[in-house]
Each structure stands twice: as structure tokens, then as C-alpha cells.
Amino acid sequence: MSWFAWFAWLAVLLHIGLFLLSAPLYSGWIKRNKALLQNRRPPSVVQPYRDLRKLFSKDVVLADSATVIFRIAPYIIVGATALAVSIVPLIVVGLPVNAMADAIVLVGLLALGRFFLALAGMDIGTVFGGMGASREMMVGSLAEPAMLMVIFTLAMVASSTNLSTVILHSLDAPLALRPSVLFALIALVMVAIAETGRIPVDNPATHLELTMIHEAMILEYSGRHLAMMELAAQLKLLLYSVLIVNLFFPWGISTTFEVSDLGLAVIALSLKLAIVGALLAAGETALAKMRIFRVPTYLAIAFTVALVGMLSFVILEGS
């Protein structure tokens, strides 16, 4: 491989590293905003780093009935999520990995993570894990058609499923608001809330058994395994936020490897993510968690919105 190819792959590793390092910061920012909105003294923005460090140094306590699936699941989940984040352009488009795996592979990798998370939930043989796994698979299976319809709309607009190509197409297109893209944005936001387990679908801060989905599956984890599960959840949240920001509001993203362009991209992205995080915190404070059997209706609405977006593209021929 030429030196440029080596450099490009090094850039991919740096990209994954940047994602991994920023994920706890983003979660901390959201928690800080939520606390401020709820009139509480906010924790420090870097508190999630401290939590992860603490968890890594703690002992792992396994249940008697834990099998090898329980022990390897955190590694597979973090690995699949890390590979998924490598596909999503963060501050620069055109990394070699974008040609290697497209948006459908992204959905597939996230589904792989969810599969092993549900298996880990069922592994111990308690009711919490089974319940969490069952609900997670229901939410995930109903969210996937909506997610795919969003990807289809974007792929039809850009004539490619390669995420770099989609972003470049958005950058080049005139600043007209296309209805298909607007509908796709609304649908993606709804799907992202469901997939990352935020209010109103799932409460990330609860420890009441009947109200948890994600927490129920990782209930038996401790120590470094729990740290990895938490990190995977934070990564997934950052991944969906970056998807929303970069696919629909890509201004500022760098198309070259120039340091000035990258710096500008970092500042632009931080600003955009800060706004999205604050909006998410405001939404979580204003809304209450739905009953679990309202979630299929919610996801059906997301699917219908995405479908309308796709139809408006098809009928208006590029809207």
C-alpha cells in the first residue's frame, strides 16, 4: 500500500479513537443539561470518564449460571459498535472504510450488537434478562423497517448507499428544503430515540424492573464488563447523533485532510452536537416514558413518516 493508503487507515483508527473518547463526554453533556433543566446540581461533564475508570478497576462478579456467551458478549458488542462508528463520517468524508461498508452494513452491525446484547440478557436465566431481551427485540424489529426506509430515501436521493457519497451530495446540493429529506430527518430522530433507549421509549436512568429495557439486559454485569456495556451504549448514542447531524446538516465537515479544514470541522461538529444534546435533554425532561405497548404505534408512525418521505421523492422525482 502507498504511504497515502497507510495514512488513510491511520486516519480511520484515529477516527474510531476520537469517537470512543468523545462518547462519554457527550453523555456527560446530556446529563448536565437534564440536571440543569430539572433544577438539580449538575454533575461534572467528565463524570462518565470517572465512572468508567472506577468500573474498570472493580471486580467482576458473575452469576453461577453465566456461560461463555455472557463473558464474550461485551467484547463483541463493543467491537461491533466500534466497527459501526468507523463507517459513520465524523469530521472528514472519504475514509477508505466508507467504501468497505455502507449504510446497510451499518444497520447490520448494530443488529449484531443487539443480538448479542439480548443473548447476554437471557444467559443468566432470570426473569429480568428475559424480559429486557424480549422487549429490546420487539423495539428493534419494529424500528428496523423505519431505519431502512430512511436509508432508502437518502440512497435514492444520492444514488448510493455509501455514507460519504450521501454527505457529499448533501453538501453540493442547493440549500432548498426537500420534503423527502425533512420527513427522513423526522423519522430518523424517532428511530434514534427508540434504538438508543431514551425517553419516551426507554428510561436510561431507571432501576425499576418494569420500566427498563436496556438496563434489564445488563443488570447482571459488573466491573469491566459493565464498563464496556455502558461505553457501547454511549457510543451508540453518539453514533446516532452524528448520523443525524452529518447526514442532514453536514455544513462544516471537511472533505480534505488539511489541518485547518479538520479544525473547522471539529468546531462545527462540537457546536452541532452540543445543540442536539441540549435538545435531547429538553425532550427527555418534557416527555414521559410511554407504556411499552405504545411503542409499536410510535414506531409505526416513524415508519409512515419515512414512507411518506420516500413516496414524496418518488412522486415528485427528486422532490
Binding site: V97, V105, M122, T126, S159, R224, F293
Partner: protein, 685 residues
């Protein structure tokens, strides 16, 4: 080139047929002797399998097409045989599954030998004939040979389904299977008949040249769809599948679900793409509708099953639906004048065909191990099997991941290809089609996600957790050959997922010979990249994704090791699981399969006919304390109510109306005779 003998298809075809027929004969002569089955019959089936794989490899790598005429058959129509790339591909499929089954069989039938209730001779004889019938169907080059081979396949598989005939339920299931197989064969015969009406004789070469007017062409297509669909298991003709596949011996279920359904797909592809030739876009839409409905229906019913083999049978219905979605897209694009996209659809459908053959056989073989060692077919009684059967558990997990279409295994590649085909719908002119195709893709996404949910349920309930009954708690791992056979199929799942370009090159040959168009850009970036349409449109590099996963995992391993040395982490502590302080949990307090499927039951309720029986027995001493609670849930297939019951009710009504002429009075019968006589006299003059 090597000696012309072994590079030609002729010698391998001879080996394939000869070995399977010899295997049947050997079993018949061997009687109840186990050594005959283990040392003669199954190795002969293995030889037949290797020969079939060789036929496939030779045919797909460009060996000359082989056609011959056997001196048997009718005086004016002898048996024609021909192997072209399409036939070669299906031979490879048959060979791969048969190889695994021939390794698995000896260990499995030991159980029947031990019980002594059923005849091993009949089992071996019917298996050999079944395999020979399937091989003959794929090689047939005229309608007569095709039908004879088809019937041989159907009747021998009936014998196999009815093998454990001492139970009435098994006999009923086998009878239903035979009935529907015969109806399907009748429809196929009619389809060939329509074609043959416009051709000089029955050979495929003549049928191919037949020029049919549009209406008859559509009638032939409809008959072929119904006939082959009945054997393949398309909704609503699938009702025999969930009855017949569970009652057959597990290695036969693997053969039926993995291979026989694919032979029906072969028949359909041969009839539509090869013999009919001229495709219409309406046919593509019909195929899409049938495929989507089958896929969704199959997976939803699979979610509600708690019998492991019945669940796997419903998943076969789902995957046949997915194959038909690919075929429908292919027909749609070919008929609209986009041969490259049509080839893409065909390649996606064929890729899914071989994927399903491999992972469904793997799952059925694993289920057979559970049935044989744990003596359980009911998911609600299993649990914790991964500790008792680590190898079977590992390979079954690979099968579950593959069928859920997750990277890096093979199910994902065929689903990726189908999605890429559907995404090209923007090329079509009709706005309705451009909207309908993405909706079909969304249904496909829904079925993929529901399949993943179902297999989380299957694996989590059967292999993880704690054993729910005593027999499962004491189950043992199987013997070496059965593990090797499962490992072979699991390795193939990985191989087909990580090296898709090799398979695509082979399928290009099939598509080229069948329709004349190939995916020329598929390997334009080298063997590591799969770029079916063009590199800038979509690309997937499976080996690099696999490498990436390993990279991510190894980085984490390094981090872990670094932390370990620094923090001097203690060995892992084992404790009881979290029980909220209420005390000891037993294995009955786990989530059950019905509980796992409950959210899906609530969401999709109108599509099922569910019978629930709940019984609560209160304690004598304290009326509010339940002493015993029992819950039974059973899901009925609504196809019976929607399609079959009105059908036979109307036939019964019609017969009753006709029966009115039987009044029982002699004078009325004399009047009938008199009137008939007058009528005949009038006709004669």
C-alpha cells in the same frame, strides 16, 4: 488438461446416480443390520455427495455442457438428461447438504436401531431413492423425465415423513404432505401440458422454442407458480410444511428443508426463466406479493411456536418468501428492459438459495442432536444446553447468526444483495412500481429483524439459562462425526459470508447461461470487493469487515491485558444471580418461550388464531395463594380458515346440491334413464 474422463460431467453424473441408487439397494438388502447402514449406505451417499459437488464445480467453472439421451422411456420419447450451469449449481447445493447428512446419519439412526420399532431398511431405501429422485429432477431435460423424477422424490419423501408411523399424528401429517405433493405435481403437469400444446414434443429444447400467446403464457406461469410454490412452501400453499418437517427424522428434515424446497425453486426458475423465456412485469409483481406475504407470515408464525422443529419449518417458509422476492425483482427488471439489474436480482435469489440450504440444514441437524440426546422437542422444556453440548451450541449459534442475516456470515450477503437490487427501483418508469419495491424492501427488513428476534428466543431458551427439565439437565454431547458434519456447514456459512465474490463469479455463469446477462462489474475492484452494480453505487468488502471486527476485539484484549497487570485484578467471583432478596430462584422461574414471544403476539394479534388455556388451582389453607398454575398456548394457522375451509365447504355444498338427484325413488331413476335415452337419440340423429 487432466485425463478427459474426470474433467467431464458424464463420469461424475454416473457416480452420483449410481452411488445413491446403490445406497438404496444396500439398505434394502441390509435389513436391520446397523453396520450395513453405517459402513455401506451412508458412505455411498457421501460418495454421491462428493460427485454432486464435483459436477457443480466443473459446471460452474466452465466445463462443457453435458446432454445425453438414455435408451429408457417411451418409444418415441426417451429420457433426456442435461447439465447446464443452473443444474450444476443445484447439484453443488445437493452435494454439500448431502455430505453433511451422510456424516451425521450413522450417529442419528443408532437411536432407531436401539428402539427396534421401525425398519432401518425402509429408511435407507427411501433416503437413497429420495436423493436419486432429486438428482434426476435437476438433470432432467424433458417433461417426462422431470415428472417421473418429481414423483419419485415426492413418494420417497412421503415414506420418510411417515417413517415413525405408529403415532396417528405422524400418519396424518404424512397424508397431508402426500396429498399436497400430488396436487402440486398435477399443477406442474398441467403447466408442462400448456407449453407442450404449442410444441412438437415434450423435450425441453422443443418447449423452449414454443411460441405462446400472452394469455396462455400467463396461464402456464400461474400453474407453474402454484405447482412449484406448493412444493416450495409459498403461502397459502405452505400448510403441509409445518406438519411434515417436524415428524420426519432430523437428517431427513435437513434434506427436505435444505434441498427439496430448493429443487422446487430450481423447477420454477427452469420453467420461468428458461422455458417460458418471455417475461412480463405483472408476473414480477405477483412474485413480489407472494414472496413478501410468505416471508412475513412465516416469520410471525415461527415466533409463536414452541416446538423447535415446527419453528424451523416456518422459517423455511419465510426464507422461500425471501428467495421469491429476489426472483420477483429479477423478473420485474428483466421485463422492464434492465438486464443487468435483472441478473442482480437472480444472483441475489440464487445466493439466498444456497445460503438457506446451508444454514437451515445446520439448524435442523442441531435440532436433531437436541431431540436425540435431550429427548425434547419442546422449547419450554430445554435450557442450559450450551454447558452440556458446547460444540453443538457453538455451531447452532453460527446457524442462528447466519439465518438472522447478521454480518459477517452468509445470510447478510444475500440480504445485502436483495436490498441493493430493490434500491435500483428508481430506474423503473412506473411510479407505482418505484413506490412498491421499497415497501417490499421494508417488509424484508421487518422479516429479517423478526427472524433475529425469533432466534434470540430459540438460542436463549434452549441453550442459555438453566435446564427446565431433568432429561435436558443430563443431556450429553454427541459423537465426533455428528459434530464434524455440523462444523462443516458452519464453516461454509462463514466462507460464503466472507468470500462472496467467489460465489458471485460462479452465479454469474448461471445467470449468463440462463438469461444472457451477467454482473460484469461485480469484481471490478478485485476479489476482496463486492461491487454488484458499480463501485460508486455500492460496495461491500466482507473479509475486511471480518478483519475489522477482529481488530476491534484484539484492541480491547490489549486494553484488558494492560489493565490487568496494573490493577492486579482478582479472579472472577461466582455468586447467585440477582433475586431482589426474595430467595432461591429455580429453573422454572426463568423467562419461557411463550413469554418471550408475548410482545409480538400482542402487536400482531389479528394475524394469529391463538388458543390459550389457563388454569389456576388455589391452596386449601389460604384461598388467595395459588398452589398450581398451568398455562397452555397454541397457535393455529389461519390459512386453514381463510383459504382451505371455504374451499372445501363450497365443494361439500356443491356435492350436496348434486346429491339432490339421488331421491331414493325408483320412478325418478327410471325417468332419468328415459330422459338420457331421448337425449342420446336426439344427439345421434
Amino acid at each position: 488438461m487432466t485425463s478427459p474422463d474426470f474433467a467431464s460431467l458424464q463420469i461424475w453424473l454416473f457416480f452420483a446416480f449410481g452411488a445413491s441408487l446403490l445406497s438404496a439397494l444396500a439398505s434394502l438388502l441390509g435389513g436391520q443390520r446397523l453396520w450395513v447402514a453405517n459402513l455401506v449406505s451412508f458412505p455411498l451417499l457421501g460418495i454421491s455427495a462428493v460427485a454432486s459437488i464435483m459436477i457443480g464445480i466443473l459446471s460452474l467453472t466452465g466445463a462443457a455442457e453435458f446432454a445425453t439421451e438414455l435408451p429408457i422411456g417411451l418409444p418415441w420419447l426417451s429420457w433426456h438428461l442435461r447439465i447446464d450451469p443452473l443444474g450444476g449449481f443445484f447439484y453443488a447445493l445437493i452435494g454439500v447438504v448431502l455430505l453433511a447428512v451422510s456424516l451425521y446419519g450413522p450417529g442419528y439412526i443408532r437411536e432407531y436401531h436401539r428402539q427396534g420399532k421401525y425398519s432401518l431398511a425402509v429408511l435407507g431405501f427411501a433416503t437413497g431413492l429420495f436423493v436419486a429422485g432429486m438428482q434426476l429432477v435437476v438433470a432432467a431435460d424433458d417433461a417426462l423425465t422431470f415428472m417421473i423424477a418429481w414423483e419419485l422424490m415426492s413418494v420417497s419423501s412421503y415414506v420418510l415423513v411417515a417413517f415413525e408411523h405408529l403415532e396417528a399424528a405422524n400418519r396424518r401429517a404424512a397424508f397431508l404432505y402426500l396429498l399436497m405433493a400430488q396436487i402440486g405435481a398435477g399443477l406442474i403437469l398441467l403447466a408442462f401440458g400448456v407449453l407442450a400444446a404449442f410444441a412438437p414434443d415434450f423435450s425441453f429444447a422443443a418447449l423452449r422454442e414454443a411460441q405462446l400467446p400472452g394469455l396462455w403464457s400467463s396461464i402456464a406461469f400461474a400453474l407453474a407458480l402454484l405447482g412449484f410454490g406448493m412444493k416450495a412452501g409459498l403461502v397459502p400453499m405452505h400448510v403441509w410444511l409445518p406438519e411434515a418437517h417436524p415428524v420426519a427424522p432430523s437428517h431427513i428434515s435437513a434434506l427436505m428443508s435444505g434441498v427439496m424446497l430448493k429443487v422446487a425453486i430450481y423447477g420454477f426458475i427452469r420453467f420461468t426463466f428458461d422455458l417460458l423465456g418471455e417475461l412480463h412485469w405483472e408476473w414480477g409483481v405477483i412474485l413480489l406479493i407472494f414472496g413478501s406475504v410468505s416471508a412475513l407470515y412465516g416469520v410471525l408464525y415461527a415466533l409463536m411456536q414452541h416446538d423447535l422443529k415446527r419453528l424451523l419449518a416456518y422459517h423455511s417458509v419465510e426464507n422461500i418468501g425471501i428467495i421469491f422476492i429476489g426472483l420477483g425483482l429479477s423478473v420485474l427488471f428483466f421485463a422492464s428492459g434492465f438486464p443487468l439489474l435483472g441478473a442482480l436480482g437472480l444472483v441475489a435469489a440464487l445466493y439466498h438459495t444456497i445460503n438457506h440450504a446451508v444454514f437451515k440444514s445446520l439448524l435442523f441437524l442441531g435440532a436433531g442432536v437436541i431431540v436425540q440426546r435431550g429427548h425434547e422437542r419442546n422449547l419450554e422444556h430445554m435450557g442450559g444446553l450450551i454447558r452440556r453440548m458446547p460444540w453443538t451450541g457453538g455451531f447452532f449459534l453460527i446457524g442462528c447468526i447466519s439465518i438472522s442475516a447478521l454480518p459477517p456470515f452468509n445470510g447478510f450477503v444475500s440480504e445485502w444483495l436483495t436490498f441493493q437490487t430493490a434500491l435500483q427501483a428508481t430506474a423503473l418508469e412506473s411510479g407505482v412500481l418505484r413506490a412498491v419495491v421499497p415497501i417490499t424492501a421494508a417488509i424484508l427488513a421487518l422479516t429479517g429483524a423478526l427472524a433475529a428476534a425469533c432466534f434470540v428466543k430459540v438460542y436463549g431458551i434452549a441453550f442459555l439459562g438453566r435446564a427446565r427439565t431433568r432429561r435436558v439437565r443430563h443431556a450429553h454431547e454427541t459423537n465426533g462425526l455428528m459434530i464434524i458434519s455440523q462444523g462443516l456447514l458452519a464453516f461454509l456459512c462463514l466462507l460464503l459470508g466472507v468470500l462472496p465474490t467467489t460465489m458471485i463469479v460462479a452465479l454469474n455463469g448461471v445467470s449468463g447461461s440462463l438469461t444472457g446477462s451477467e454482473l460484469s462489474m461485480a469484481t471490478s475492484r478485485g476479489w476482496l470487493w463486492l461491487t454488484p452494480i458499480a463501485p460508486q453505487v455500492a460496495s461491500y468488502s466482507a473479509p475486511l469487515v471480518l478483519l475489522g471486527i477482529f481488530l476491534a476485539l484484539s484492541v480491547w484484549g490489549l486494553v484488558y491485558l494492560a489493565l490487568r497487570r496494573r490493577r492486579r485484578i482478582q479472579p472472577v467471583i461466582r455468586r447467585d444471580p440477582w433475586d431482589c432478596g426474595f430467595g432461591s430462584l429455580n429453573s422454572r422461574m426463568q423467562y419461557s418461550a411463550s413469554a418471550f414471544a408475548m410482545p409480538f403476539k400482542v402487536v400482531f394479534d389479528p394475524l394469529f388464531r391463538i388458543h390459550e388455556e389457563s388454569e389456576r388451582q388455589m391452596d386449601d389453607r389460604l384461598p388467595t395463594l395459588p398452589a398450581r398454575i398451568s398455562y397452555l398456548i397454541h397457535t393455529d394457522d389461519i390459512s386453514w380458515n381463510i383459504f382451505y375451509r371455504p374451499f372445501y365447504r363450497s365443494i361439500t355444498w356443491l356435492s350436496r346440491q348434486v346429491a339432490r338427484i339421488q331421491t331414493g325413488h325408483l320412478r325418478h331413476y327410471l325417468a332419468y334413464s328415459f330422459i338420457t335415452l331421448l337425449l342420446l337419440l336426439w344427439l345421434v340423429t
